[in-house]
Symmetry: C2
Subunit: 204 residues, 2 copies
């Protein structure tokens, strides 16, 4: 049901740059520098667009930022869907999910931080569009992780007294916290061991 089929081909010169690629480049700038610290020239340099083209394509800085944020969130959801896929073993899935966070919490990756956490801290208090997206992602993440724990429970792999939804909330706080701690670029082995130790508290 693509619009291409019902719409005439446009009459003039067709768009010659890739919008998604531009959003991704913009995302990387916001990711490294934050919203307020990113100036228009930074975005123009990164997207290789002229001022006119950028404003024609995205309207304004804030809208472009929202699109970049949505892209970041979509990527995170994709990873989550893959790692916590119901068809996978839930414990393996949780291990893989944690490993991803550990990887992103070390060295240069860690120092760069997390666009979602940074945005939540910088803008969520003042910007309802951002707050909505953050809250929504948070709820989704909680639901998926809780589901994984739930499946682990029915598989008899949870330690005594562990409630899936509670364990999910704990794990999620821990993961957000990893993103914060990552700013000090801790050793991978340390983060990995810490994550393992937490998960082991929940498992048989």
């Amino acid at each position: 049901m693509s619009r291409q089929t019902t719409m005439q081909a446009p009459r003039g010169r067709p768009r010659s740059f890739d919008i998604d690629a531009a959003v991704e480049r913009a995302m990387n700038v916001f990711w490294s520098r934050g919203y307020h610290a990113t100036a228009l020239p930074d975005l123009l340099r990164a997207t290789k667009l002229s001022r006119g083209s950028l404003y024609a394509a995205f309207g304004d800085k804030h809208t472009l930022f929202l699109r970049a944020l949505d892209r970041y969130i979509a990527d995170a959801l994709t990873r989550m869907d893959d790692e916590l896929d119901p068809r996978r073993d839930p414990v393996d899935g949780l291990r893989a999910y944690l490993a991803g966070y550990v990887e992103r919490a070390c060295g240069a990756h860690g120092r760069r931080g997390c666009l979602l956490v940074a945005t939540a801290m910088e803008l969520a208090g003042q910007d309802p569009e951002v707050a909505r997206r953050f809250a929504s992602f948070f709820r989704t993440m909680e639901a998926r992780v809780a589901d994984a724990f739930s499946r682990a429970e029915t598989a008899g792999k949870l330690a005594a007294g562990v409630e899936p939804s509670s364990a999910a909330r704990i794990l999620i706080c821990f993961l957000w916290g990893l993103r914060v701690v990552a700013k000090t670029a801790p050793a991978r082995t340390t983060s990995q061991a810490t994550a393992d130790a937490l998960l082991d508290r929940f498992l048989k």
Copy 2:
């Protein structure tokens, strides 16, 4: 060994405003809005100082910010020293410490966020002064919490297989994460129950 005793009284009109109070007011602005989003007029309004006085007293915006951040950190250290005081029961201390974070992670307090986390995400990557302070606070926090767990262990209150330093790292990540999740202003009861559930995983 105060300098007052050796120095002459200054000759001119004495300073008529309270520097510490000004730092605290500035801290509150930075806390609510973040570094880049805080403009000079915001600081002037909050501190009730003139431009001239503010620059005479603090030099520039960045220096004032660092003083505000140091004030925030000092307050956090004071709370920590009180709650995790070695003369207290370590488990009571940890419970009190967690309760403080839970309190600050709900409703309006939560929405406001944490100046330290926000600063770490916004500036630590680019600003070595900020990175230093964050890393230092992080290490201190880890040491104090690990010490509390260690005392709990010698008191025979730790569950089997729990290592104090590992538990401390887990708890700290969890607490930083609480500060992030707080942006969605979750219900106090939920946060409290989650924190309790985590702690209970470590205790007999």
